[in-house]
Subunit: 151 residues, 2 copies
DNA sequence: CTTGAATCCTACTTGATAGATAGGATATGC
DNA sequence: GCATATCCTATCTATCAAGTAGGATTCAAG
């Protein structure tokens, strides 16, 4: 699971929008709240808008707001909007892979791995991401001591 | 979870080594068995050797073999050997991230997502990857219908 | 109906990285 | 000493991530 700078920034921006919801917040405010380059934040907000995750209002007093209630947008959606598919294998979707010989069973493995990623990122809403009150299954994953150790 | 060409190739090579274990197999044979560029396969096998996942034998009748029994090497180890950490957020380990404001809870989320990835890739051995006889939890993930659908 | 603050659009730069390929030096068994 | 391997160093090319630049467009308030 590689999250790019864009992806990280997008999620940080999104949870910041949660706090002010449903007021609009300008790109400058969002950028300074999370200490991101303003222009880059604008680009990312453009992606989120085209994915219909945020609405924008132009002009003075304008800015951005979440297009749906914070409980009904998942972190996974935000990441997909800016980074593309959550899981890829050599640039292909897991279910599109196909091998011969000893590797014939790998597609099932790739699909299972993607399902595991989804079970976290698609099950956590922006509201939960902002509050820290994740679903039980996610809390359990983060509560394991080993989960915090590098490998 | 992004798996690079190197990563995919490495796993395909590794499961091919399972089938012949503990005989040595040459880079050329491995490459043609999985239809990979021979020279690139050599590079990857070098990575696996330096990670102590395979042993090599030089000279005629030489080649590569798994350094441990196929049941005691995980797919995750193979991927790490060639691609680095399974999960990164903006180039950092999940537990190394830190944010202010509305994003303070994100590190726990990143860690949970990594744990989910690990629960698949680190729990499946090369033997299981070759046979398709995955752990029950992994089989269940792959058995879900939705798991095979793109999002 | 102008002004200021905001979004929006197009283009560009810069550096790093993936995915190879090339050629040969080195080791080994027969 | 010869055939067959691994192993080492170097190079290439295209793509992409990350960020910057400049200005055109929109809109509410006064």
């Amino acid at each position: 699971m590689q999250v790019s700078a864009r992806g990280e920034y997008a999620v940080r921006i999104a949870v910041t929008l949660v706090t002010g919801h449903p007021r609009t917040i300008s790109a400058s405010s969002l950028a300074s709240a999370q200490q991101l380059p303003r222009k880059f934040a604008e680009v990312i907000l453009g992606d989120l808008r085209r994915a219909h995750l945020v609405d924008s209002v132009r002009g003075v007093e304008g800015g951005y707001r979440l297009a749906r209630p914070p409980a009904r947008i998942s972190v996974g959606e935000v990441l997909r909007a800016v980074d593309g598919p959550l899981s890829e294998v050599r640039g292909r979707r897991p279910e599109e892979t196909s091998y011969e010989g000893a590797a014939v069973n790998l597609p099932r493995l790739w699909v299972a791995a993607r399902a595991a990623v989804r079970s976290v990122l698609d099950e956590v809403s922006l509201e939960q991401a902002a509050s820290g009150d994740f679903p039980v299954s996610v809390k359990e994953l983060a509560a394991e001591e080993d989960a915090w150790l590098p490998r």
